[in-house]
Point group: C2
Chain length 484, copies 2
């Protein structure tokens, strides 16, 4: 708080003899408590302060832990002939400022936001902002942060609305931008440019990764390719946002790895202009089983032995990560992680879990989208970067011969539908069964979710892109022997 205050003073000083009004958003003490505040600074003075009232304390938000709500008087800021009302993020979402009794005459609403990205969130923001503009019959400026912090992605996409709640200016997503708007002129509503959810999602993953990589000073990224669809999508996202010199990819086959997987993995990396190194884990697999032979005598070969392969891969990739200050990216998806179909300290090894919030069915959709699209800011400017074979084959962990994911799990379409209801929609068993899913399947999945809570507890951080990610917003006990 001391340092924040020092910087505030510096900015105030810099504003001397400037006509511009600067907006600064910082935590500020008020009556000995910390409030989330917005300051207007002009000509070496703070000319206006507003403090946040609504403190979100759900999902990823814990604001009641850190901030105090300000529920006092709020003056309208007057600038020339305009009355401007400033709101801070959640203040727009709660109804309090939009009740008849609290209505003021306002020419312009300015709302500053650090609104975390979720698929479909932009439509929600737009709808609500429109309602708020119409309520006050006021123009509205919605300003949103761009960047990321840990698991949260801020997608930008700031906009200006007219008094009828129509967008008259829409700025781009995922990058900084600057624009001067003269609000004294009557603007026409912009033509609707519906954002593609898949494009948005792909770009969100790119910005999340790029920021995490940069802000933590890594020299390169490392990842293991299996020939499957998760590592393929991961590599394509990586290649679209990082220079090829910064990408180290490895193929780590065992006895159970099919030749198709090898061909697919190398084909993929070739299409992305990358070189992949092969490191067989077969000798190590045999050596480890040999070392454990005595303590494992009389036991049946099974999942333990399968996990060992995954853990050798984790061990080798982490050695590479350590040696070269390289960020190991773990490639598991939300479906696997939800039901614990992943090996702790094995394929779960890594500093960043890029697909942590992406269900398997969405992984396929993103692959197909990427094969048919790229954007100006992608480093790989070509289509069909992911071989069709990878998308079309049946998913397998290849930890034993002829293994298919569908041996132990329902098919992904069903699994993902049920997971979305259980996790994202927080629905109970009864409700889900009523949607037409077999009770036995739903119960089994719910059981798998609860049993694998300890794995997710130790899982790497990854970008939140849905309403209920497996990072900061879902908080579930490890001891959970209750029933739904």
């Amino acid at each position: 708080m001391k340092r924040v205050d020092n910087y505030k003073k510096k900015i105030v000083k810099l504003s001397k003899n400037k006509k511009t009004i600067f907006v600064l958003s910082i935590p500020q003490f008020f009556k000995k408590k910390v409030t989330n505040s917005l300051l207007l600074i002009n000509s070496g003075k703070i000319i206006y302060t507003v403090r946040k009232k609504e403190l979100p304390n759900y999902g990823v938000f814990d604001e009641k832990r850190y901030f105090s709500s300000y529920d006092g008087k709020r003056n309208i800021f007057k600038y020339k002939n305009s009355k401007i009302k400033f709101l801070i993020c959640e203040d727009m979402w709660a109804d309090d400022f939009f009740k008849k009794k609290n209505k003021q005459t306002v020419d312009l609403l300015i709302i500053i936001n650090a609104s975390p990205f979720e698929v479909g969130k932009f439509e929600l923001r737009k709808k609500l902002a429109s309602k708020r503009a119409r309520f006050y019959k006021s123009q509205l400026v919605y300003l949103n942060l761009v960047g990321s912090q840990d698991d949260l992605i801020f997608d930008g996409g700031s906009f200006v609305m007219n008094t009828s709640g129509k967008i008259i200016l829409q700025k781009q997503f995922f990058s900084d931008s600057e624009k001067i708007v003269d609000l004294n002129i009557k603007h026409k509503a912009e033509k609707k440019n519906k954002v593609s959810d898949l494009e948005h999602l792909y770009k969100a993953l790119m910005i999340g990764l790029k920021n995490y990589f940069k802000k933590n000073n890594f020299s390169s990224v490392t990842l293991g390719l299996s020939g499957g669809v998760d590592s393929a999508l991961t590599l394509s996202i990586v290649a679209d946002c990082l220079d090829k010199k910064k990408i180290n990819s490895f193929f780590l086959p065992s006895l159970f790895t099919s030749n198709e997987s090898r061909v697919d993995a190398f084909n993929l990396s070739k299409r992305l202009n990358l070189e992949t190194t092969e490191l067989s884990i077969e000798n190590l697999r045999k050596n480890i089983l040999q070392e454990l032979k005595l303590v494992f005598k009389k036991t049946k070969h099974g999942i333990t032995e399968e996990n060992i392969q995954s853990r050798i891969r984790g061990l080798l990739l982490m050695a590479l990560s350590n040696k070269f200050n390289s960020l190991l990216i773990t490639t598991g998806n939300k479906s696997e992680l939800s039901v614990g179909y992943s090996t702790l300290y094995g394929d779960m090894c890594g500093g960043y879990s890029l697909l942590k919030d992406i269900y398997k069915t969405k992984v396929f959709e993103l692959c197909k989208w990427r094969n048919n699209n790229y954007a100006d800011d992608f480093l790989i400017k070509k289509l069909n970067v992911i071989p069709e074979e990878i998308i079309n084959k049946e998913p397998s962990a290849e930890l034993k011969f002829n293994q298919k994911d569908s041996d132990s799990l329902p098919k992904y379409e069903t699994l993902d539908n049920i997971l979305e209801l259980l996790i994202d929609k927080n629905q109970g068993i009864e409700f889900i069964v009523k949607q037409g899913f077999p009770k036995k399947t739903v119960m089994k999945i719910w059981d798998l979710i609860k049993k694998s809570e300890f794995k997710r507890y130790q899982s790497a951080i990854g970008p939140k892109v849905s309403g209920m990610s497996l990072s900061a917003d879902r908080r579930f006990p490890l001891i959970n022997k209750f029933r739904l």
Copy 2:
């Protein structure tokens, strides 16, 4: 909530034709919001309800996320000629019920609690309860939960106070108990039985482990012994609370393991009546370095190679854990974990981190305490279970020849003092330097803490025993390039 309601109805039904008044504490809907409620049930009816007002939202508490505060009228419960005031946990800690204007005539205060254990917490409870009893000139019954949930330990130790705030009945800690007190008789204050902090702490770790083990249906525990003091303390706690048939201990030496470590580890396990299995990691270490030779060419042998040893141990122990449905206990302490002096997916492997909230200097104290004490409920009823050699030798990770912890870290006494100020007391650099610690050392430690945030993010859960554990109460960003 539906299921809670069903059980409530069953209990109400069971109370028919019974004179006893049952106290039930459950979440209850009130005006469509969930409140933390206490019900009195008698003769098939709910005869009284009180709802929690004060919702803690700091440290490990997130109650504002789940509960609504009840700030309405509170009737006193009248029983025969007595006026009884019920409070729920935090209600006693906040001052609101203890302001002159809110004072009522009360004969008895009953406070129900799920108050998480911390060293020294009992003294705080007692002090505050005494103040509250004296304020109302009322007798006071303080009831506390016994058991654990995830990282939280509930230590029991319920008590009754007279109107002068003196304890007239003190129940034991860490186990259920039952006692009838006639409050119409005048009781003498109990003689002071000051609780030993170290005994309390040791028992808290025992109950935490025992509960986690049992509630998650494990068949056994597995742990690796290094010959060092952390794994020694861990094993002694394990042996004091679990049957020897349920304990699998392993010694996993490499080229760099000293013979002293072997002697000490086996001596320890002998003293605890256990058998330890030796599994050398030396062949695997060589094999792995061989496999990596090509990709590591031209690099210097260093920390990466040291970590590999730790990760082979993790891999083998996890294989044993998987194979035998055994809870792997990781033995790292709070000092190591705070500065990242631990290998992710190596010695950090495990489902339960028993010493996660115990600084190294406290590990030594606990070892010494245990060597001089045991209690009735310890399975190993002898002293000196931890060989003096283990306590007296200089700490080393033994990942290279002649390595000492003090090569890379300040001596533990200094380190722990600084860590306690930075982490537990949440103090700034300036303040700590004023306490007489060299600025360079403090800055280095703060830097190590921030750099290792990603490791703690993926660390196993462990019992909270201090005011600021590294599990649920300390929430710190992984991207943290700000300065203190």
